[in-house]
């Protein structure tokens, strides 16, 4: 290399070091466009240091006088690129829409102080290690009060830490393990309770049938409800077999899994993965003419399922999914669902994109908004995430939380964050989805069955 190249290299290194120093100081955190935009709080990666600093100043300086407006930082951890991105993108879109919608509409604490949510979105690609990295960034750099998160492995892993750091964590994972964790919340029954509802439904259709569990034996999300399913099936007299189906399955994987499942002559299949994997399994079912009824986990079944699986007619009454809520398309004018469509209209999101995934993201942020509405400004600034947690837990003996008609009245009690226990079984009849239920599993404590198996 020549002398010029050496100087060039030196300059590049100096610039990198300078940039690193600048970023560590927390000034250049966001993309430059975001800082320039006037509506910083509403833009996806907004980070203007003055705003982030405002709540802490208000907390330290003027405890007596009421602040006019509080801005609180929130982390948003989503999967836009990993194996669960098929459902993760819709979720992220819903969560972002909710942040913008509620910011615009105004969130007010009990004592009437307006709260703005400043959110930081990070795509972690379903890689728990990266989730931990981003968590540290959220905590140490942005000092977030709450995180709206995603997967089971990462949420479970972080739950010890969030409890220690007192950060409210609302996840898209409804794992039973999280029910007992102090800072974890979600507006749904846990996976195990949902799966038990599915097993109850199966037993009602055909007592003493055979059930094959298709799920990824290495993925925490897929494994989560399995002990509960086994306990419930034992109670109701179903025979259970297990077959490994990768979360990132190819058609070949799915076909191999279905062929293996067919050896057991199943009446029912449980698909515990997400939609891309489960729809491939359904496709393979149609290909080999397996006449068993597949019930998929909540993340494994939505509006797109029949078209993703190909053969929508062939699969009539053979595919179904668990869902704790009715889907937006069927409930358009009902309270709660109205807000979804209003938010979509406001942000120019086409109505057809307001689907189950969008709603799941939306209601998670809504739960956070409910927490803010149930606290007062002083407590919020002083106790941050702890204030939000206490606000949600005030529903235990106080007024329950309702997200319109989307959920039944929800109560979160300290040590037991299971807000309600009923789920629908959504069956594809060849033309449309039919909601059966709601079913509340009885006879087996499904949360406990899972907790016992995971040693917690």
């Amino acid at each position: 290399m020549s002398r010029a190249a050496a100087i060039g290299a030196a300059i590049v290194i100096i610039i990198i070091v300078a940039a690193a120093a600048y970023m560590v100081a927390g000034k250049g955190a966001a993309s430059p466009t975001a800082t320039a935009s006037p509506t910083a709080a509403a833009s996806p990666t907004a980070a203007s240091p003055t705003q982030t600093a405002s709540p802490t100043q208000a907390a330290g300086g003027s405890a007596a006088s009421k602040p006019k407006e509080i801005t609180i930082p929130v982390g948003l951890l989503v999967d836009l690129s990993g194996p669960t991105s098929g459902v993760g993108r819709g979720y992220a879109r819903g969560a972002v829409a909710a942040f913008k919608y509620f910011n615009e509409k105004g969130i007010y604490t009990k004592d009437g102080v307006r709260v703005k949510l400043e959110y930081y979105e990070r795509d972690y690609g379903y890689n728990p290690t990266r989730a931990v990295q981003y968590y540290k960034e959220f905590r140490d750099k942005y000092h977030v009060y709450a995180i709206v998160g995603w997967g089971t492995a990462d949420t479970e892993k972080l739950s010890t830490q969030t409890a220690k750091d007192k950060i409210l964590y609302i996840s898209a994972s409804y794992s039973a393990v999280l029910v007992t964790r102090p800072y974890n919340f979600f507006p749904a029954p846990d996976y195990s309770t949902q799966a038990c509802a599915a097993v109850t439904w199966m037993a009602q259709r055909k007592p003493h049938g055979t059930l094959v569990l298709l799920y990824d034996h290495r993925v925490e999300y897929s494994k989560s409800p399995i002990p509960a399913i086994k306990a419930m099936a034992k109670k109701l007299g179903l025979k259970v077999y297990e077959v490994d189906l990768p979360l990132a399955a190819t058609d070949a994987d799915a076909e191999a899994a279905i062929q293996k499942a067919m050896q057991y002559h199943p009446d029912f299949l449980w698909c515990g993965n997400t939609i891309s994997s489960c729809s491939r399994a359904a496709k393979a079912m149609a290909k080999y003419g397996l006449k068993a009824v597949m019930v998929a986990n909540v993340w494994g079944f939505d509006e797109r399922f029949p078209s993703l699986a190909g053969a929508p007619e062939k699969l009539a009454n053979l595919v179904a999914g668990v869902s704790p809520w009715k889907w937006p398309e069927y409930m358009k004018d009902k309270p709660g669902y109205r807000e979804l469509y209003e938010a979509a209209r406001m942000l120019g999101i086409p109505e057809k994109d307001v689907n189950l995934r969008f709603m799941q993201g939306f209601i998670n942020v809504w739960l956070l908004v409910k927490a803010i509405e149930r606290t007062d400004s002083k407590t919020l600034l002083q106790k941050k995430g702890e204030a939000l947690k206490e606000a949600l837990e005030s529903s235990c003996n106080g007024e329950p939380i309702k997200l319109g008609d989307i959920t039944p009245p929800m109560r979160y009690c300290p040590g037991n964050h299971l807000p309600f226990r009923s789920s629908y079984i959504v069956v594809w009849n060849g033309k449309d989805f039919v909601f059966e239920g709601p079913i509340t599993p009885k006879g087996v404590d499904c949360v406990k069955a899972t907790l016992k198996a995971s040693g917690g």
Partner: protein
């Protein structure tokens, strides 16, 4: 500027700090490291993370840079260290309780366990060289990963108990100042030891094996022993780094110890400069690991990144280009670039 050799004793010749600028650099560096916690907890987190990867990379630099034995199993060996700590504590918790501060005592133990595993990983090196050895180490990585997934940690998550990380009122978990000073201290000691390995008879044996193992055996070096030792030492470093990793993350799963981590570590060593076992990994970690963490904030925020596979895709593209560029254009890595810059300024402005 010294204009001749003024060293009168052997110890002067071999001293790590020979010139005034070394002393000045040491004082400035120490001051910076000691004062870093003032810059906030995020800076501290980054520094701890960097120090952990630095230790693992120094180990790989001994194996690959000094002894020439390419290894793509360093990520899994990191895992061996981390799981040694977590699983031992789990065992203790089930059998009578966890003594206070025991996680700290397990740091060297994790290194030793990893060194034993590293010996096994290095066995194929007796017969294999170059690409074939790389393939064998990938196989070892895969086997270890399988064990993590199926046997050691089927639930994809273990937690280090708080009590094990508390000693004398100080809490060494997460990313606090106590862990920061511990990590920096361990990294400094490990670096010093590695620097001295390079100057010892063992180090010279490593270099001889690296340059030509047939000639090395002719001059009387036990090649098999040298290779095994190189793997064991490298793995020891990975194990210690893994133990620190367990303390830093508190809860972790096997996903952190995959082939991508091994590749990242090898990239750090190659881009930093495999010829210098301290400075190479240090520069490599700062550029590829910490630099990436900082860049990541920007990249993840860009629109459309999710469509091409997320920030990770961009990371691997950047990694790949950097490694390819350095291997082709500058085999000495960043160290080589800096050395040339130094030479230029030494003679400046009268270079020729």
């Amino acid at each position: 500027m010294p204009a001749g050799v003024f060293k009168e004793r052997y110890s002067q010749l071999m001293a790590h700090l020979r010139y005034p600028i070394h002393w000045a650099g040491l004082v400035a560096g120490l001051a910076l490291l000691l004062a870093l916690p003032l810059a906030g907890s995020y800076a501290m987190s980054l520094a701890i993370d960097a120090a952990i990867f630095f230790v693992a990379a120094v180990g790989l630099a001994v194996t690959t840079g000094l002894a020439g034995q390419i290894s793509l199993a360093q990520g899994a060996l990191l895992g061996v260290g981390a799981y040694t700590v977590a699983k031992t504590l789990e065992f203790l918790a089930a059998h009578g309780g966890v003594p206070e501060g025991s996680a700290l005592l397990l740091i060297p133990a994790a290194g030793l366990v990893a060194a034993a595993v590293g010996l096994l990983v290095g066995l194929p090196s007796f017969k294999l060289k170059g690409y074939y050895l790389a393939m064998a180490s990938i196989a070892a990585q895969a086997v270890l990963m399988y064990l993590f997934q199926r046997v050691i940690d089927p639930n994809q998550g273990v937690t280090v108990p708080d009590k094990a990380m508390t000693l004398g009122g100080l809490y060494f978990g997460g990313g606090g100042a106590a862990l920061y000073y511990l990590t920096i201290g361990v990294a400094a000691v490990m670096a010093l030891v590695a620097a001295n390995i390079g100057r010892s008879s063992i180090g010279r044996a490593f270099k001889a094996v690296r340059d030509n193992d047939v000639s090395a055996s002719i001059v009387g070096i036990d090649v098999a022993k040298a290779k095994a030792l190189a793997f064991a030492v490298g793995a020891f470093y990975a194990g210690v780094a893994g133990a620190l990793y367990a303390l830093y993350n508190i809860s972790f799963g096997w996903d952190a110890f995959g082939l991508d981590t091994s590749i990242e570590l090898l990239a750090i060593v190659l881009v930093g400069g495999a010829s210098r076992i301290i400075w190479g990994p240090l520069l490599g970690v700062l550029l590829l690991h910490t630099g990436w963490s900082l860049l990541d904030d920007v990249v993840s925020g860009l629109p459309g990144v999710g469509l091409i596979g997320g920030a990770d895709t961009v990371k691997y593209l950047v990694f790949g280009l950097l490694v390819a560029g350095f291997v082709v254009g500058e085999p000495d890595g960043l160290v080589g670039v800096l050395r040339r810059v130094k030479e230029y300024f030494r003679l400046w402005p009268f270079s020729y």
